[in-house]
């Protein structure tokens, strides 16, 4: 029995050692005892969507370029409570700045107050967090870009009918802006909009699109508020043999969407510049930590990628 217990403790010890080995930077570094700035990043799980996997990579590259240590505390599941915990852990860890790519922008109130009390600079990337403690934001101008997409749909789907919007989580700043931008333009041009919240969940988008296409044979277009959701909508359209009759549009500008556009399936997507977002927000947080002026708000215009220009962006 003792042998087993020894083994058990040994394994836990090994885990801790593994933790030290895989640590991006030791706890001692945080707080600036080594003189180097340490910032934390907690974003939407990269494993769930390529957009955020790219974002994480770009943030890391930007941190290296700025000469600061970066600790990635992003959760592996889209759980707002876990992300709030990661912010709390970053605060306790003594980092000087935190970049949040919010799973849900409404979750952080109390944690942000704690960060402010400890004079930790908190900034947001991609999704705005409506809180005075968040001192900078870099994101796509979702509303304006969605309006551009709305107009594109109007120009390319001349037959007025129903348009299905597959949305993110209701109340999520980014998802709501994309929904509103497209909806405003479509409704102003006589289209009927069916909006369904899919919680950024690809499987839910597929299920929703399948059901709505079945229930509404007069749907002429599907807009997914995020590219994987749009591709799920496209799968539903193909399942029902409606490719060509029902056009599908996305938002993000991910490689998978580009390939689909090239193949003549997805009609168009909005390209977001997540590399620029990452560079700007990392520079801003570092500048603020150093007491220098940094960009407070950067709204980047998204632009339409369709068959006419997709080759330029296909890697």
């Amino acid at each position: 029995m003792r042998r087993i217990s020894t083994l058990a403790f040994g394994l836990v010890f090994l885990l801790c050692v593994a933790g030290l080995v895989f640590a991006n930077g030791s706890g001692e570094k945080a707080g600036g005892t080594s003189g180097k700035i340490t910032i934390a990043y907690t974003g939407y799980p990269g494993g769930l969507t390529p957009f955020w996997a790219q974002m994480t990579q770009y943030v890391k590259e930007a941190a290296v370029a700025e000469g600061v240590d970066l600790v990635d505390l992003s959760p592996t599941v889209a759980d707002a409570a876990q992300q709030k915990d990661s912010v709390d852990n970053a605060i306790n860890r003594g980092v000087q700045g935190i970049i949040i790519g919010a799973i849900d922008n409404r979750a952080f109130g109390e944690s942000l107050k704690r960060a402010a009390a400890k004079k930790i600079v908190v900034v947001a990337v991609d999704t705005a967090i409506d809180d005075p403690q968040v001192t900078a934001l870099a994101q796509t101008d979702n509303l304006a870009s969605a309006r551009v997409m709305g107009q594109y749909i109007v120009d390319n789907v001349p037959m007025k009918g129903k348009v299905l919007i597959l949305g993110g989580t209701l109340g999520h700043q980014t998802g709501d802006a994309r929904r509103d931008g497209v909806k405003q333009v479509l409704e102003a041009n006589g289209y009927t909009v069916i909006f369904r919240a899919c919680d950024w969940n690809d499987a839910k988008a597929l299920e929703t699109a399948t059901n709505e296409l079945q229930a509404n044979p007069d749907i002429v277009a599907v807009f997914g508020c995020w590219d994987p959701g749009a591709l799920a909508g496209l799968a539903a359209v193909k399942q029902r043999n409606l490719l060509g009759k029902v056009k599908v549009f996305g938002f993000d500008g991910l490689p998978a969407a580009f390939k689909s556009i090239k193949d003549g399936e997805l009609s168009a997507t909005i390209k977001q510049d997540n590399k620029q977002m990452a560079q700007v927000i990392v520079h801003s947080v570092v500048a603020q930590i150093k007491g220098q002026p940094g960009v407070k708000k950067l709204l980047i215009d998204g632009f339409v990628i369709d068959k006419s220009n997709v080759d330029k962006y296909l890697q």
Binding site: M1, I4, S5, A8, F9, L11, V12, F13, L15, C16, A18, G19, L20, F22, A23, N24, G25, S26, G27, E28, A30, G31, P45, G47, V71, D72, L73, S74, P75, T76, V77, A78, D79, A80, A81, Q82, K84, D85, S86, D88, N89, A90, I91, N92, R93, G94, D104, R106, A107, G109, E110, T169, L170, G171, F195, R196, A197, D199, N201
Partner: protein, 316 residues
Amino acid sequence: MQAGSSISTRSQIWKGIQPLAGLVFIYLVFAIASATFRTLDTAQTILTQAVILGTLAAGPTIVLISGGLDLSIGSLFVLVAVVIGLLLNAHVPIALVVVLSLLVGALCGTLNGAITVGTGIPAFIGTLGMMKVYRGIAELLGANQDMSKFPASFQAIGAGYLIPISIMVVSFILVYVFLSRTRLGYNCYAIGGSNEVSRLAGVPVKKYYLVYYTIGGLFAALSAIIQASRLNFTNSSWGNGMELDAIAAVIIGGTSLSGGVGGIGRTVIGVLIVTTLNTGLSHLGVSSSWQRISIGIVIVLAVWLDVVQRRRELGA
């Protein structure tokens, strides 16, 4: 005979101490490895982060000791969260929201118990089915609803350290009293040890199971109330995998999956082991994926120890 009994007692004591020793060991390793970990702030954060899991795990502690299993508590959690959001959107008074939410949780728990004991369907299958049912209802009710920005008095339930930690501690005390001071509680061990023997001894097993599952639902609801108030929003995508997290914490603490053995004290330790590992690894800059791997290994280890000890006891 006396020597065998002495070895058995020592074995039981050692079995009880192991998880606590493990927790202390893990805490000390992180405290040595990271200066920022060994602070009062971090200790408070660990306790605060343990609240949701701890309150949720109080229910499965009782259900698992009784030999049952409830896989639906994660979905029940989200169903209650959606109900909270809808009631608050409808400007229902906070006290009534809390009472109704607990009621929904308790009723769903009772239904789980009724399905399990009434139909004879294995608990795994019965509660797996109800897991789908509750999530589906939550999705229906929560579809196209913005449930956020709740009144300050509701937010106060999960705000700061004091109130949520107090709620968790009181929950643990209540479960302790239930298991050790009530007929329903100590029969829980008897039923978990041998359902059939308990029935032959005159214990109303089916009736008792209803109570155990009801309590499980009640704690899932309480946990949902705290999370909704802490995050200041709810939606129908919450709760995925939470049932497994809660069951894992109970097992890591040393409560047996086979029933008849365990206690709320062990669950407290299990919850703290999980939370301390997550927090400690975060302080070391270890990614969430490695945190998951660590918890997974600890679960396997805990169950393995349980299996080995049971084999040893049977052989003694």
